[in-house]
């Protein structure tokens, strides 16, 4: 009951989806769309679980005064504040419990939820994302070292493409005569992207697809069941 019914459910729902791929007739033709909508709803409910896990973990850190507990307290407050603002006045054109909050919006220039989103959340997110500029440089500095044939290929391809994407590379080989246009850096970079790169990407995609097919079938057939945990 605790173990077999879930396996049957996984099998039946998987089978329905597979049938619907090939059958244009109702009810199969529309089933995948509704199943995906269901998925969003279930996942939305599940979010509450996540939030509870987060709050519980932070609360434990605060109550046991573990190192850096103050920051975790601030984390709980930030969460509470965001939820409260969203619940009271809503977001964008969505109204909250207290309606659209016209007066507070007039004072802030935006709804409080949207204000926090724009001036705190977005910059945090964008700055964290921009750390990649630093990391990509340090990774190139450290990793693109002449060693084995493999690492040399990696480095050479990277250098050609980096050069080919800027004006500097264009300058470097712009003097080449028409018959040697192939070796002009932007052209060479395009060639690498278009042919050898495509080949490798394709190989990865094709074999990974086989992996997905195998794992997927194992799940549908109930062979792969680790996600369900043990019996008890």
């Amino acid at each position: 009951m605790k173990r077999n019914i879930p396996l049957i459910l996984a099998f039946v729902s998987g089978l329905i989806v597979i049938f619907s791929e090939f059958i244009p007739h109702r009810p199969f033709s529309s089933i995948v769309d509704s199943l995906q909508e269901w998925f969003m709803i279930i996942s939305g409910f599940a979010m509450l679980l996540g939030v509870m896990s987060l709050l519980r973990m932070n609360a434990a850190k605060v109550s046991t005064r573990s190192p850096d507990w103050q920051y975790h307290l601030i984390g709980i407050i930030s969460f509470g504040l965001m939820v409260l603002m969203g619940a009271l006045w809503g977001m964008e054109e969505q109204a909250g419990i207290l309606g659209q909050g016209a007066s507070i919006s007039a004072w802030l220039g935006k709804k409080p939820f949207d204000y926090t989103y724009t001036h705190v959340f977005v910059p945090l997110s964008a700055t964290l994302f921009s750390l990649l500029a630093f990391f990509i440089a340090s990774a190139a500095y450290r990793a693109f070292i002449i060693r084995t044939l493999e690492s040399n290929l990696l480095m050479i391809a990277a250098v050609i493409v980096i050069l080919g994407r800027t004006g500097f590379g264009t300058m470097l080989t712009g003097w080449l005569p028409e018959s040697y246009r192939f070796w002009h850096l932007p052209n060479l970079a395009d060639y690498i992207m278009q042919y050898p790169n495509t080949a490798a990407q394709r190989a990865i995609m094709i074999s990974a697809a086989l992996g997905v097919i195998g794992s997927g079938l194992r799940i549908i057939l109930g062979i792969e069941r680790s996600y369900l945990g043990g019996d008890k």
């Binding site: 500029a133 630093f134 190139a140 500095y141 070292i145 002449i146 050069l163 994407r165 800027t166 500097f168």
Partner: protein
């Protein structure tokens, strides 16, 4: 992989160098142009060869997240069209588009040469309409029916420059600055394919390859601006040291610095290897 203090310091130096490599060119622009690609030049030629007094339409089909790449294109096209005495109609298929249009016009008017350009006479901002391709189809029979009022609520009849405009066919060119759907593709399908109005446009560097097939013999797309690089090329063509040129400078400097770092990394690695080989007798160096 042992990590010691020296490699921590090395990392931090690399970070600092990258930070400076991007920031310094932004503050002190160099103005390196790059070779203008034929596709970007084609886009420039379309506006350049349009006679004075004709109408161009710029559709602002993007939002704040892609401003870095697309805004410089908008400003450059506006300035270019104004320098040729053309009039500009701004529309939008994305909700944030009208704001983007307003910001672009304001930016272009900061150039003293165009400070006297007047709303309603030299340019209008008609605003955003939902519906994507359906809206464009309707504009094919009457733009006025789609936009009875502009983005600020002014009536069509109160905007003098719109007197001569009925349908898409009355436009000399259309440019869609587009970061997704609906956008450039829809404009090509309606304005070019149905009404035969030349269409050009700009996209982010990431999505540019997907539009290249439209730049073909039938000129479904009359040239294309792909990303910051193309925007900087456009600025070069209209002789402007604008934001795209500056940002492209920062890109080029950062790229060169990264290449230098790779060279430096190899020298350091080689030295370390030799030092190690010397210690062990130098047999396997």
């Amino acid at each position: 992989m042992s990590v010691n203090t020296s490699s921590h310091t090395e990392r931090r130096i690399v970070f600092l160098i990258i930070f400076l490599a991007v920031m310094v060119p932004l503050i002190f622009p160099i103005g390196w142009g790059s070779e203008v690609s034929p596709i970007a030049r084609m886009s420039y030629d379309l506006i350049d060869e349009t006679p004075a007094g004709k109408y161009g339409l710029i559709s602002f089909d993007y939002e704040a997240s892609t401003i870095t790449e697309l805004q410089p294109m908008a400003v450059a096209q506006i300035e270019h069209a104004w320098s040729k005495g053309q009039k500009i109609i701004a529309t939008a298929l994305w909700p944030q588009g009208p704001q983007m249009a307003e910001a672009s016009f304001a930016e272009a008017k900061r150039n003293p040469a165009y400070a006297d350009k007047e709303y309603g006479v030299d340019y209008v901002n008609l605003g955003y309409k939902v519906g994507g391709i359906v809206t464009l189809q309707a504009m094919g029979s009457s733009i006025r029916d789609v936009y009875p009022k502009d983005s600020s609520g002014k009536n069509w009849d109160d905007l003098p420059m719109l007197k001569g405009i009925r349908t898409l066919k009355d436009l000399a060119w259309v440019s869609s600055l587009s970061s997704g759907v609906p956008g450039l593709k829809e404009w090509v399908m309606i304005a070019h394919d149905v009404h035969n109005v030349p269409v050009t446009g700009g996209t982010t560097a990431v999505s540019a390859p997907g539009f290249l097939p439209y730049v073909n013999d039938q000129k479904q797309l009359h040239g294309l601006l792909g990303g910051l690089k193309a925007a900087s090329e456009y600025e070069m063509l209209i002789d402007k040291k604008g934001p795209a040129t500056t940002k492209m400078d920062a890109q080029s400097v950062a790229h060169i610095v990264i290449l230098l770092l790779i060279t430096l990394g190899n020298i350091t690695a080689f030295r370390r290897k030799r030092a190690k080989a010397n210690l062990t007798g130098g047999q396997n160096a």
